[in-house]
């Protein structure tokens, strides 16, 4: 298991492995929004929490599209399925590796982009907090989607469409935390719900994903 985690991390850091690209995408998105929407600071401050959350979500999404696909293409997945570790464990480890290489850096970079989008000062802490609680759910849910679409050529977009609706609750509560935080309101409820979603998906979805993988292999 640890070998698998280490391998995935190593692959991510190798040339072309994609580490940092999620970050880059997040940055680019934060630049595009004002260019499209206009440069008025007040409008930007209004939409900043939502845009930051959507950006984190998309960056996650894009980087997970080949979580299993690469292993499927080169035959590793067949071999992992016959290896002496449970497929559920494989899924969980891969989701963890994805979060470490994508989710965590996003959390760390989000405050910087908050500056670009004129995020109100009170909201920064809540932004980090909500992302820290919410992004693991994104990785796990994404792993499930990736397992469903493994083996499809150009599965990438199909994956987006399957996964984005599943991301909606996380997005709503996550953005809500930041919005309330920015206005100095109470954030306990959405925070708790966010934590609940993360815990729930981490507990259940690896099993569903392993099931989907087994079906896709045969």
């Amino acid at each position: 298991m640890i070998a698998l985690l280490l391998r995935d991390l190593r692959l991510a850091f190798r040339a072309g492995g994609g580490f940092g690209l999620g970050l880059g995408f997040f940055l680019v998105l934060a630049v595009l929004v004002p260019l499209g929407v206009g440069s008025d600071p007040r409008t930007l401050a209004l939409i900043a929490p939502g845009i930051l959350w959507i950006g984190a979500l998309l960056a996650c999404l894009l980087s997970l599209d080949r979580m299993f696909a690469l292993d499927h293409e080169d035959g590793s997945l067949d071999l992992l399925a016959t290896a002496p570790i449970p497929l559920e464990g494989v899924v969980a480890v891969k989701a963890l590796a994805h979060w470490l290489t994508t989710g965590l850096p996003l959390v760390l970079m989000a405050p910087l982009l908050g500056v670009l989008l004129n995020l109100p000062g009170a909201a920064y802490g809540w932004l980090i907090m909500s992302l820290l609680l919410g992004t693991p759910a994104l990785s796990v849910i994404g792993a499930f989607g990736a397992a469903l679409t493994v083996g499809l050529k150009r599965g990438g977009l199909l994956l987006s469409i399957l996964v984005l609706p599943l991301y909606i609750p996380t997005l709503i509560y996550g953005a809500e935390v930041v919005i309330r935080g920015a206005q100095g309101l109470d954030t306990t409820t959405p925070l708790l719900l966010l934590a609940g979603i993360t815990a729930g998906s981490a507990a259940i979805l690896p099993f569903a994903a392993a099931l989907a993988l087994r079906v896709n292999l045969r």
């Binding site: 190593r10 692959l11 067949d78 071999l79 399925a81 016959t82 290896a83 292999l217 045969r218």
Partner: protein, 205 residues
């Protein structure tokens, strides 16, 4: 470490390809599957490996005894030969990869990235993986494709050592495997009779 298959029917895409396949492979024996292209060798191997369900019949073997090597070798292009092998060794909890590198004549290439190997070198690495799994039952799909004569001989001797240690090997191939003592099973006679696909309530006829 015996593998016993009886009355196996296997299918691809809902079409039964082979039926009534039966054989036993005692420890130390090797069996070569032969048959024309498309007769179902790959399908049979994948079924026995547990990667797809059989339509009927039984496959008897100890759990966690099988390792499968298909057309794709399961190599990561950006990892080196040694890293690729070490990963599979760690997954299977076996110690050391030097013996496997040595056995498949890969020691010189150990630090090379898999993407920079030639077709035959990749295949040798794929075969070396079998050694680090430590599993007794090998299911090999055309293992000697792209290998030159020296490497085929190498594979032959590695397989012989494996058999001598009580392992077994089930291989599909059209060409020489460097393993003349292996029994041959011609699958032509097990071809499934044309009929409606099973399973969906017997095609609700």
């Amino acid at each position: 470490m015996e593998l016993a298959v009886s009355d196996l029917t296997c299918a691809r895409g809902g079409v039964p390809l082979l039926e009534g396949v039966r054989f036993t492979l005692p420890a130390g024996a090797a069996l070569v599957l032969r048959g024309p292209n498309g007769c179902g060798k790959t399908t049979l191997l994948r079924t026995i490996a547990g990667l797809q369900p059989q339509l009927s019949g039984t496959i008897d073997c100890p759990p966690d005894a099988i390792t499968y090597a298909g057309h794709a070798d399961g190599l990561k292009a950006v990892l080196t030969v040694a890293e690729n092998l070490a990963f599979w060794a760690a997954i299977h909890g076996t110690p050391g990869i030097d013996a496997a590198l040595e056995a498949m004549n890969l020691t010189d290439l150990a630090a090379r990235q898999a993407q920079h190997l030639s077709a035959g070198q990749k295949r040798r690495l794929g075969l070396a993986r079998l050694l680090v799994t430590g599993r007794p039952i090998w299911l090999l799909d055309e293992p000697t494709v792209s290998l030159d004569t020296a490497s085929v001989a190498l594979f032959g001797s590695v397989a012989r050592t494996h058999l001598a240690r009580g392992g077994t090997a089930l291989m599909a191939s059209h060409i020489d495997l460097g393993l003349n003592e292996a029994r041959v099973l011609d699958l032509t006679s097990y071809r499934a009779a044309p009929r409606l696909p099973q399973g969906f309530d017997e095609a609700f006829a």
